[in-house]
Symmetry: C2
Subunit: 427 residues, 2 copies
């Protein structure tokens, strides 16, 4: 029991805390969350909110999962942290094996770091140095328009969402953007790219496979992406799949790359990797990528490392998460959510306020037939409406999307759908 304080947590928060992705003058107050369990968040008054986006796609097996807590609780009695340069430990090795076992064919090495941005920075560094180590000068990276890959300078460089990058664009890496492929546009795109790639100056191509998360769950053609990836391979361009959002079952496969024929050279993972417990990330790669760094020359190594790399608690949480991911129960839940999304979509997609809808696995998105700013007033009104209804949804501009934890109950999921259906009547 905490002693009483003179000031509310909300007031104390606004005195000292600078929140991410927040213009505090326009959004002065953050709402305190006191606890979480399964698919629910609870505020200080005990009111519950269905966590319909799994706290940014992390807690996919539910908040405070007893099995994960038990495993991490045991690990922290044994080994909290040790330098991962020169040393190793059981959780890191077990996790590497567990990952390689479920990752797309061809992934052979696991490089640990702390978040999606660092996983991407490492992917970029692997791609650039891979060619440099082989004596080829390839300074250019390709990335999709409206992609999002993180907030550090390297990760920002490959991101195409200007809301995040505005003041920093003058400082970026050399990146060229290409449109996402759709069935009817991919052949023209391929033609254009063949010419571009002939210059042999492109080191790597980074992409969110099938679903662009921060772009508001925009989806593109698997066939089209496959053609692009095959083309990249022909021209010696390393392909970097950013599966930070899409990984660990969300597309109804372990990874979005499982839906594609051409497998990536490098894969970036985070978010659901640690099942919502603590930060961690992984950049995995093929033996071919690794071999370009394996040398008698010290300087050909990858001299990247964060202090808490492969933190034993994070590795343990991730291992526990993968065990849950591989259970029959989880795949039953994924199928159930897929079906429920489809049924809801049947009832809503022809609503006059709905411009279009789309679905991939447990990811469901709906565009309103109204233009609005990404962080504008109307978007805020929607957000508040959902919270009043006891549902945590975070519209991105005119897109409402749900990405529920796998453990969500039918009643909780119905509550999410009902709140979306009813908000349409308020517009």
């Amino acid at each position: 029991m905490n002693p009483p304080t003179r000031h509310t947590l909300k007031d104390r928060d606004s005195k000292y805390v600078w929140h991410p992705l927040t213009q505090h003058k326009l959004h002065p107050h953050a709402m305190p969350i006191a606890r979480a369990e399964g698919a629910l968040l609870f505020d200080e008054d005990g009111k519950s909110y269905v966590d319909a986006i799994a706290s940014w796609y992390t807690c996919m097996y539910g908040h405070c999962h007893p099995y994960i807590l038990e495993q991490v609780g045991q690990q922290m009695q044994r080994l909290d942290q040790v330098v991962f340069s020169g040393f190793t430990h059981q959780p890191a090795v077990d996790l590497a094996e567990a990952l390689i076992d479920i990752l797309p064919f061809g992934q052979q090495k696991v490089f640990y770091s702390d978040n999606g941005s660092t996983a991407v920075e490492i992917g970029i560094k692997m791609a650039l140095q891979y060619h440099a180590n082989r004596g080829e000068k390839r300074p250019v990276l390709l990335a999709f328009e409206n992609g999002f890959h993180g907030d550090t300078f390297g990760a920002m460089s490959v991101s195409g969402l200007s809301v995040y990058n505005g003041p920093f664009e003058a400082y970026f890496l050399q990146v060229e953007r290409i449109p996402v492929p759709q069935e009817d546009t991919v052949d023209t795109l391929i033609g254009r790219l063949e010419e571009r790639l002939a210059k042999k100056d492109v080191a790597g191509f980074i992409y969110e496979p099938l679903v662009q998360g921060a772009a508001a769950m925009k989806m593109h053609s698997a066939t089209g992406l496959d053609k692009l990836l095959a083309l990249m391979r022909t021209h010696g361009v390393l392909t970097i799949a950013d599966e930070v959002m899409t990984g660990f079952g969300k597309t109804a496969a372990y990874f979005a790359s499982d839906h594609l024929q051409t497998k990536p050279d490098i894969i970036c993972l985070s978010k659901a990797l640690t099942a919502g417990l603590v930060p961690m990330a992984v950049t995995s790669c093929s033996q071919q990528v690794y071999d370009a760094f394996y040398s008698d020359e010290l300087a050909k190594g990858l001299f990247h490392g964060h202090t808490y790399t492969a933190n034993p608690l994070a590795c343990t949480a991730a291992l526990a998460g993968i065990k849950l991911l591989r259970s029959e129960e989880t795949w039953g839940q994924i199928r159930r959510i897929e079906t429920a999304h489809r049924r809801f979509d049947d009832t809503i997609r022809s609503h006059q306020k709905v411009r279009s809808t789309r679905q991939c696995g447990v990811i469901y998105a709906l565009d309103l037939d109204i233009d609005m700013e990404r962080y504008g007033n109307l978007r805020d009104r929607l957000y508040r409406y959902f919270m009043e209804q006891g549902v945590f949804l975070r519209p991105l501009g005119n897109t409402i999307y749900a990405l529920p934890p796998y453990c969500i109950s039918e009643a909780q999921l119905q509550k999410v759908y009902d709140s979306i259906a009813s908000v349409l009547e308020t517009l």
Copy 2:
């Protein structure tokens, strides 16, 4: 009890794990660490090693500290993770207050992230956007020669250690390097800088105050640094103290900046912040910096955010760590280590194999009178010698340094000194 496996952990590690800062061809095997307690690491055979660098300056109160584990264990039953944009929670607010209470005068806002590199990226973005938001074009950053600030592209740009940056230098931000100030050089440096700063194109100056960690615990003059900082302030250059290594008591003050008159505008923290439990970082800043982002214009906000920002478990570990840091027991330990280092130094500094020694708080460094490569054979021989003696020390080139956890016992500390003294006899 784990079931028996066909392969040793060491073999399994080398099959799938790509370690940080490692050329695997030259260093094919990582050594498994099974558990840790207090100042000790234990290998699979139960042999103990004194963790004489506190696992990269993180576990300063000792590994697996019961108070920290108890606090984190309780927190993870309540709230594991929640989006920190729009929401807040008790551990984040409590930690912000606890930090502001011990940070140098003038720090007012706390921005959370995941590691030292991201703390630095955020510091850089604050400095660049601060001027941009005020309508001033200041694209240049200043940094010390041989500084180290992290491995993401922004953080690499300000780092001056070429071993880490080699293949990526073509991609960096606009950074100019200045030498660290010493008593006899600072006035010339000031003269040169006054001319340079008159161009009004410098946004920020980033520095490791008093001790440059990765440069092998190089130390510079507090008086000199103070003059530099005062000059920067006169010219509207934001000062960014990277206290990722120096913070939380290591210099025998809460922060190295406490030894200086001119306080920084921005401070980067990580490593010991979470007492060695899980990754987290903080970039704190003054009200003046924050105010430049506080606006009716959405785009003047800082659109940076990592998914696990202000992770409740990490905040709880940090709070528990600060409680330990503020105890009389810890300050008694710090004074004891300081005194012990000085006594040891008296016995060793005139040894014929010793070129020079230096100390700041619990940080002790000794340069051998032998030239060697940062990651070369002789350095590896020293490393192996220490490990054979049951001491984990990580020489950087010809520098041997110790930065023990505060809880180290006198006998353990003596073991560290004895191993350093005896290695000199093998050279």
